[in-house]
């Protein structure tokens, strides 16, 4: 068994260090994903595998074991960081850095380190084959974008929401009433509000476009007894009671 080069371990440590730096200093999603995701899935596990000294024959075998060891390192990290009270982005970055560096030191100190499996030979890909592969990726990506669009535009039910919320504890004299449209077309409504069955306020011809909303805070008198406030939404064209809601106005 030959003594393997430790360049891969050095690269793993550099990767882990770069991840700590980027997590600490940057909010860039792409950069953090490029560095962070391989830390969770591969880099730390590769170092752990080298530290244990498990011998693998195929690259696929080494990769599968490295993913498993990475997952194990991540799971252990969850418990360790929880115990230390630092389950935070920086805590995670430092954990994977510590695992990678620690495993590297152990692997570097080993005298019976296992050889890394050989990389498979290069596969000759012709132009049309490369084009077909690229097209396949494009089609699959485009199909996913189409699925996202289909979901965003999917509205099986057309509806209008009406709500009435009791006064907040800080200000017992204000009710909140809201209307939001999930209809296909702009709609016109009349809104009536009663207090203990007595007319209290009316809002005529509220025009609400699809996706639009109308919200008001309505001052109400606070009485020695609890009152029931009700809101009714009508469609003026057929004077039909469309929605009704209610809430309680607390007493003084």
């Amino acid at each position: 068994m030959g003594v393997p080069s430790n360049r891969d371990l050095l690269a793993a440590c550099q990767w882990a260090g770069a991840t700590v730096a980027v997590v600490a200093l940057s909010d860039d999603l792409l950069l953090r994903t490029i560095l962070g995701a391989p830390m969770v899935f591969l880099v730390s596990g590769h170092a752990v595998l080298r530290a244990i000294g498990v011998r693998t024959i195929y690259l696929s075998e080494h990769l599968a074991y490295a993913v498993g060891a990475s997952l194990a390192a991540g799971i252990a990290g969850g418990f360790a960081l929880n115990a230390a009270g630092v389950l935070t982005p920086l805590g995670w970055a430092v954990w994977f850095f510590a695992v990678t560096v620690g495993a590297t030191l152990v692997a570097a100190a080993r005298r019976d380190a296992a050889d890394l499996p050989a990389w498979p030979g290069p596969v000759r890909v012709s132009l049309w084959q490369g084009a077909a592969l690229a097209l396949a990726v494009l089609v699959a990506t485009g199909a996913y974008a189409l699925a996202v669009r289909e979901e965003a535009t999917d509205r099986q039910f057309k509806y209008t929401e009406l709500w009435m919320l009791p006064p907040a504890s800080g200000d017992p004299s204000r009710l909140t009433v809201g209307v939001r449209s999930g209809e296909a077309q702009t709609q016109r409504f009349d809104l009536e509000i009663t207090l203990d069955g007595r007319p209290f306020a009316v809002f005529r011809s509220l025009t609400i476009a699809p996706g639009g909303s109308w919200v008001r805070e309505i001052p109400v008198p606070v009485m020695p007894t609890r009152q029931k406030a009700e809101a009714r939404l009508y469609r003026p064209e057929d004077n039909l009671l469309y929605r009704s809601v209610s809430t309680l106005v607390p007493h003084i």
């Binding site: 991840t19 997590v23 909010d27 999603l29 994903t33 962070g36 995701a37 969770v40 595998l49 244990i52 498990v54 693998t56 696929s60 075998e61 599968a64 074991y65 498993g68 060891a69 997952l71 194990a72 991540g74 799971i75 990290g77 929880n82 389950l87 890909v125 012709s126 084959q129 077909a132 592969l133 097209l135 396949a136 990726v137 089609v139 699959a140 485009g142 199909a143 996913y144 189409l146 699925a147 979901e151 965003a152 509205r155 099986q156 039910f157 509806y159 209008t160 929401e161 009406l162 709500w163 009791p166 999930g182 029931k228 469309y242 929605r243 009704s244 809601v245 209610s246 809430t247 309680l248």
Partner: protein
């Protein structure tokens, strides 16, 4: 096989001929297995064409889902032609003789990831399955609170097994991705790792990349492969750790001394992770590795290898002890979680077999309806698997018999005398008996869950036995003509059967009542989001099963399954009037809001229940009057109404408003 005309010529009676024929079909004769290609001959042309084919297939699947949402008639054609195009050509190439190892492995990855894509595009921007909501809520809680072991009313056992949430939140924290994106990336990696590890496991014990690839294809025929093991749920991680452990263990079987110890180190790491990830996967690993240790002890073949037996024994001890220690440390509620399900499943299956099912049992409601084509494909897949098991059982055993005894039934006699070369093959072959048991459970409504979960583990064995059958019997020495095509087509049908049995409705369609993912649509989501925006997070809510999930996931509300101890929400919602038995528990409870979905009154529940599988009067359609009975109760107000969904504020009942 014995040709018919030989019967007369040799003077054998029909019984002997029949016996010989049966023996030739199911007997232990091994032939073939020489059609593995030499290494480094991957064909990039085939790979490119199949990638493009799969890409086109995925586009058809997405178009089918889109058409299904709109209720277009062409949806079924688009969707299922996409599924067939995705599965059939790739399966045929994987099962073809004389294909390079690397090409087979790549195509297995391609097919597994395509099936994962197929699952994700059902809901491409958010988790949608019931179990996914449970784990989504737990992961979100972990991100918010930044600590483990939080209470989990919807999945009490989940707090003991937080590994999936730990890894997902690690990705979120390191990358800044959303929880859904991080979870999806994790699941995609898990899917690829699973297939890779499974291939390596089979390859090590069968010694053939072709047989290994075929076994992996057979595994994809399991009803849990396409969807269940791709969900954002702890079993998706558990099964990967499980198969990785088996792969490392199988790879270390011929190692001695320090190399074996090093492998044991990795196995210990994986088993420790598995113990905190998923109870059933850990239990299966314990059963498999424990049984392997027993078989190694029983084995008489070859010189006694004390070190190997100690290594297998240590592995078994770790596999059994680590989950038990973890359960002991966390005070797991696993027995109360799994016990009733297993007990009810066994009782129902026995009653069904004995014909003693009471007419009022859950079985009387009947299984949810499934389109004829899906049922036919599933049935065909099961029949082909059964045929493969029948013709592969003795051949699998013969494969590990001493090499000197490969003629007639001698290999089986050797096995009966405890002479075999690899205990893993013997164990897996015997485990294949679990397949008919799992199918029997799936024929009952109460036991369906058990049968489905069993499948995940039983198919490790089914994969090997059916692969042996194909390589050593159906394809044989010279796989040409029908011997080359028919087994490959059968494998494609088996994989298709896995897809059709994976869900009641794999294609996206319009809203259906009480049908889990089919009940998730924009209006319900918007209502849940409204609760978060206007009421704030963390209010105590109760509702039907589907809306509970939306309120927990999108609304971040504190969901109650029971109104108070011993009084389920279903009782309050299903009563025609709010009598004392419902009213007073509601008054005594701490529930803040009830969400009523009037769509429940428009149809009977697709899954047989609106609230929980154990609810009273299962299957009976709810009435709108029953749901609207809260309108006129003093102390209850109706704070939200969108025409279908109503939210009642019940804090007035507790003197809080």
């Amino acid at each position: 096989m014995t040709p018919a005309h030989l019967t007369a010529a040799t003077g054998m009676n029909p019984l002997q001929t029949g016996m010989q024929l049966v023996s030739a079909v199911i007997g232990p004769d091994l032939r073939g297995g020489n059609a593995d290609a030499p290494p480094h001959q991957a064909n990039p042309g085939w790979i490119a064409v199949l990638c493009l084919t799969v890409g086109t297939a995925l586009l058809l699947v997405v178009a089918g889902n889109g058409a299904g949402r709109r209720g277009d008639a062409v949806a079924l054609l688009l969707f299922w032609s996409g599924v067939v195009l995705m599965v059939v050509p790739t399966s045929l190439r994987i099962a073809w003789p004389l294909v390079a190892r690397g090409e087979r492995l790549f195509l297995l990855f391609l097919l597994a990831e395509a099936l994962f894509y197929f699952k994700v595009v059902y809901s491409p921007t958010n988790f949608i399955n019931y179990d996914e909501f449970l784990h989504w809520v737990e992961a979100d809680d972990l991100l918010t609170a930044r600590r483990l072991f939080l209470s989990s009313p919807l999945l009490p056992v989940g707090r003991t097994y937080p590994a999936l949430e730990i890894l997902t939140t690690a990705i979120v924290d390191l990358t800044g991705l959303s929880l859904f994106a991080a979870g999806t990336v994790l699941l995609a990696v898990l899917k690829g790792t699973f297939v890779g590890a499974l291939f390596l496991f089979y390859e090590r014990i069968a010694g053939s990349p072709r047989m290994s690839a075929i076994a992996c294809l057979v595994y994809m025929g399991c009803s849990t492969f396409a969807l269940f093991e791709s969900m954002f749920s702890y079993e998706s991680l558990g099964v990967v750790l499980c198969v990785l452990t088996f792969a490392v263990e199988a790879a270390s079987k011929d190692l001695r001394g320090r190399p074996r110890l090093k492998a044991l180190g990795l196995i210990a790491l994986l088993l420790a992770s598995l113990a905190v990830t998923h109870h059933l996967s850990a239990a299966f690993a314990a059963i498999y590795l424990g049984a392997l240790a027993v078989f190694e002890t029983l084995r008489r073949q070859g010189p006694p290898r004390i070190n190997a037996r100690i290594a297998v024994g240590l592995t078994a001890i770790l596999a059994v002890a680590l989950p038990l220690l973890w359960m002991q440390a966390r005070g797991s509620s696993l027995p109360s979680y799994l016990g009733p399900v297993i007990e009810a499943g066994f009782k129902t299956l026995l009653a069904k077999i004995m014909g003693t099912l009471p007419p009022t049992s859950a079985e009387s409601i009947g299984a949810p309806s499934v389109p004829f084509g899906m049922r036919l494909t599933t049935l065909l897949g099961i029949l082909l698997l059964s045929l493969g098991l029948a013709t592969g059982f003795f051949r699998s055993l013969a494969m590990t018999a001493p090499s000197s005894a490969r003629a007639g039934w001698r290999p089986i006699q050797d096995i009966l005398k405890r002479r075999w070369r690899d205990s893993r093959i013997v164990l897996l072959t015997l485990l294949a008996f679990g397949f008919p048991v799992s199918v029997a459970f799936r024929l009952t409504i109460v036991g369906w869950e058990i049968g489905n979960r069993m499948g995940t583990f039983v198919f490790f064995a089914v994969g090997l036995v059916v692969a042996v059958s194909i390589v050593h019997f159906w394809q044989g020495d010279a796989p040409r003509g029908w011997r080359r095509i028919a087994p490959a087509v059968a494998l494609a049908v088996i994989v298709l059967g896995g897809v059709t049995s994976s869900s009641l409705a794999p294609m996206r369609g319009p809203y259906r009542v009480a049908a889990d993912q089919q009940s998730v649509e924009r209006m319900g989501i918007e209502t849940a989001l409204w609760t978060k925006a206007w009421l704030g997070a963390g209010n105590r809510f109760t509702a039907d099963r589907g809306n509970r999930m939306l309120l927990a996931g999108y609304g971040r509300q504190d969901i109650r399954v029971n109104i108070i101890e011993g009084v389920e929400a279903a009782r309050v919602f299903k009563a025609e009037k709010l009598g004392p038995a419902e009213y007073y528990p509601l008054v005594r409870s701490d529930v803040d809001f009830l969400l009523v979905d009037l769509r429940l009154s428009t149809a009977p529940p697709v899954l047989g229940f609106y609230f929980d599988p154990w609810e009273p009067q299962k299957g009976r359609r709810l009435s709108a009057d029953a749901l609207l009975k809260f309108n006129d109760i003093d102390g209850i107000t109706r704070i939200y109404d969108n025409g279908w969904i109503i939210i009642y504020d019940v804090r007035g009942l507790h003197g809080r408003s």
